[in-house]
């Protein structure tokens, strides 16, 4: 379970993980041991921890993107660490959406097999819209990657004056 916990920690930004990852895993392990073998409590505990981790990861990414004045991680675009955790988070969200669509289809088949699916009647603009969103995301990522390769994010580190006067 600790391994799964540590794996889920990869949803957090790398900086956060380095700062709190080990400590969080220690606390998780202490809490898990303290629970003992009470099955209902364990199920509730794992559910709470999973939801807490996912919500925490989303909050941390949102915080990183909203550029708090004291954080310069976005000012520097922090691109080296951005894609891995974000891609993992996007996969989780995509899996959730696909699961929801499949569940909705199953419900539709079960209760109203005669009704034509909305996907069959809807014009192709949904597909086009999705394709456009994907293209925009790829273009955005490509721009960030190109900026990172150009080294522009290091400009904020450039010292334009001499320390020795």
């Amino acid at each position: 379970m600790l391994t799964l916990y540590r794996t889920l920690m990869y949803l957090y930004p790398a900086e956060y993980r380095r700062e709190f990852g080990e400590e969080m895993a220690l606390v998780f392990e202490e809490a898990r041991i303290a629970l003992g073998n009470k099955s209902p409590a364990r199920v509730w505990f794992y559910a709470r921890e999973s939801v807490g981790l996912l919500a925490g990861a989303v909050c941390e990414h949102v915080h990183a993107l909203t550029l708090s004045p004291e954080s310069n991680s976005i000012r520097r675009l922090n691109m080296r660490r951005f894609p891995i955790s974000t891609i993992a988070l996007m996969i989780v969200i995509l899996a959730g959406v696909v699961l929801a669509i499949e569940s909705a289809k199953a419900i539709q088949v079960k209760y109203d097999a005669g009704v034509v699916s909305v996907w069959d009647t809807m014009p192709g603009f949904v597909a086009i819209g999705l394709a456009l969103v994907c293209c925009a995301a790829v273009a955005g990522w490509a721009i960030l990657f190109a900026l990172h390769r150009s080294g522009i994010h290091r400009l904020s580190d450039v010292q334009t004056w001499s320390d020795q006067r």
Partner: protein, 107 residues
């Protein structure tokens, strides 16, 4: 951004640290005990709150035991204590006001 009024979990975390410095697990258990089991924090929620409080300078982190690199404890800073006191005053004022209003209605 942590600002007044505080959310209940953050308020309880600060109250827990007001008494003495604590490490993560100790805060979890204390918050649960203070709220008589009503507020049970996950590690994700706890460390999200701790990180915000650290960022705001309301709490600080230190090594409780030099032999353990990962076991760190947290304590209130003077800024955190001042803000906690302001929140306690706000809650006290609200509570007094509520009692007065209810008593007036009943009279």
């Amino acid at each position: 951004m942590t600002s007044l009024p505080l959310t209940e979990p953050v308020f309880l975390v600060l109250l827990s640290l007001a008494e003495q410095p604590r490490h993560g697990y100790s805060i979890l258990k204390d918050v649960e005990a203070m709220s008589t089991g009503r507020v049970v924090l996950s590690t994700g929620t706890l460390y999200g709150a701790l990180q915000r409080l650290l960022r705001q300078g309301w709490i600080e982190r230190f090594h409780e035991d030099e032999s353990s690199r990962d076991r760190r404890a947290y304590r209130l800073t003077s800024r955190g204590r001042k803000n906690l006191q302001a929140e306690i005053d706000r809650v006290r004022h609200l509570s007094r006001l509520a009692s007065l209003r209810v008593a007036r209605k009943e009279a």
